[in-house]
């Protein structure tokens, strides 16, 4: 049959849509990610002594640690779903470019991570009595920038570890060191913003995030096909 295989971005979109469809098949997958994030926040809240540490100091750290761990969960899932009945093989024999698989998965993961953040941020503001107000838009920018880096790295390593016996453990071990240069600037920028400091103040951190995103989004997209060819 004379068919035309979809292009790189079209195929990526297909993969992302399929991943999200599976995610939302049980409407509760996303729900549980959010609940996970919320409960983590609560655990954090109670694990510290609020008389010793003020909420304003605690909040940025709590936010970013929560985002990091819930993000890891989501990314692990995104390849776990493929390997169960070797569905990944079906993607690999199809005419879809390898990069599309990566981009599609990364896109779905980005939606996932941003979705969780969209819920967790107001929750933190509520629990910790943060005055978000004006900081909201720049904060959203920080979250998007950081999420791109997190997702690029996380998706690549999730793909790599999916075929190993210890995926759940190995993924954080490999990915967390790479998350540090994301989490530090993100948490610092967040702290500055909620403390009401100026945007210019956050800028040096954001620059680092942007640089990281550029380098690793490319590097991971190019590296992904190498992880596959068996």
């Amino acid at each position: 049959m004379s068919t035309k295989a979809p292009g790189m971005l079209a195929a990526a979109w297909l993969v992302a849509r399929k991943d999200l469809a599976i995610e939302f098949r049980t409407k509760s997958a996303f729900l549980s990610a959010m609940v996970f994030a919320l409960i983590s926040l609560v655990i954090f809240f109670f694990a510290w002594d609020p008389t010793a540490v003020g909420p304003l100091e605690l909040a940025p750290g709590v936010l970013w640690v929560t985002f990091t761990f819930s993000g890891l969960l989501g990314m692990h899932r995104s390849f776990a779903v493929e390997s169960q009945e070797s569905a990944m093989d079906a993607l690999l024999v199809s005419p879809v470019p390898r990069e599309s698989i990566f981009l599609g998965k990364a896109l779905a993961n980005l939606c996932f991570v941003l979705g969780v953040q969209a819920v967790a941020l107001p929750a933190v503001a509520l629990f910790y009595n943060l005055p978000l107000g004006a900081a909201f838009i720049p904060l959203a920018g920080v979250m998007v920038l950081a999420s791109i880096g997190l997702v690029a790295i996380g998706t690549l390593f999730a793909g790599m570890t999916a075929n190993t016996r210890m995926a759940e453990l190995l993924l954080p071990v490999l990915a967390l060191p790479f998350f540090v240069p994301i989490v530090i600037p993100a948490a610092q920028a967040t702290a500055g913003l909620i403390a009401g400091r100026s945007l210019a103040d956050a800028w040096q951190w954001l620059r680092l995030l942007v640089a990281f995103d550029l380098v690793f989004a490319y590097a991971c997209t190019f590296a992904f096909p190498f992880t596959l060819d068996d």
Partner: protein, 233 residues
């Protein structure tokens, strides 16, 4: 495949030479180089600490390079080199991380401080520990080589970012306890000993990697023979 039957054991000549240089360097460091004025004998740790750090960087750099070449040449020797170099690098980094606090306690009064260089070293150690864990988690030889090549390369890309972010982190909020690490002015005797120690550690690195590679070669060959390749790829 370029593996032969399990090979030579016994003492590697290069290891012997390296060992001799190390001994020379330390004899010189301990008896023939005067102690530093303010720090006293604690400063002798420098002759382990700094060269170990240098060799660790060298080892990780070569690991990344070998990985990059492996992706195109697929020569199993490159992978075995990357593995060996990473392992030796982790050992040397561990030496840095152990000697550092040992030195820091008398000099700074604290075992650990979150200074940019210290933290960077710690994360380097994490990245390459992860590298070794990844290697041990993948059975298939080809897949293992591929995955670790990629991780090695990404790790190399990561280092400047970790350095930058940790550096920025600290310059914004300098910790009061951080001592000045850069201002050690050394007399020429010390510098000579210092360079001898560097040379000694580099030789040691070469010797370790050689031994470790021979081990990897034997392991692959044994694996092939014993398990019919079940653990390999």
């Amino acid at each position: 495949m370029s593996t032969s039957a399990p090979t030579r054991r016994g003492f590697d000549p290069i290891a012997l030479i390296a060992f001799a240089i190390v001994v020379t360097a330390y004899v010189r460091a301990i008896w023939f180089t005067p102690p530093e004025m303010t720090q006293g004998y604690a400063q002798k740790i420098l002759y382990v600490h700094a060269p170990a750090a240098w060799v660790a960087f060298l080892a990780f750099g070569l690991t990344a390079l070998a990985g990059a070449f492996w992706l195109f040449l697929k020569d199993p020797r490159l992978d075995r080199f990357a593995e060996s170099s990473a392992e030796v690098g982790v050992i040397f980094t561990t030496a840095v991380l152990v000697t550092g606090p040992l030195w820091g306690k008398p000099v700074w009064g604290t075992w650990w401080t979150w200074d940019a260089r210290l933290t960077g070293t710690l994360f380097l150690w994490f990245v390459y520990l992860g590298y070794l864990v990844l290697r041990s988690a993948v059975d298939e030889r080809e897949m293992r080589a591929r995955y670790s090549a990629i991780l090695g390369i990404l790790g190399a890309l990561l280092i400047p970012f970790i350095h930058l972010s940790v550096y920025l982190f600290r310059t914004l909020h300098p910790l009061p306890v951080v001592a000045n690490t850069s201002g050690i002015q050394m007399p020429p005797v010390m510098i000579k000993t210092f360079f001898l120690a560097f040379f000694a550690f580099t030789a040691l690195y070469i010797a370790f990697v050689r031994v470790r590679m021979a081990l990897a070669t034997d392991r692959d060959a044994l694996d092939d023979a014993a398990h019919g390749g079940a653990h390999a790829g």
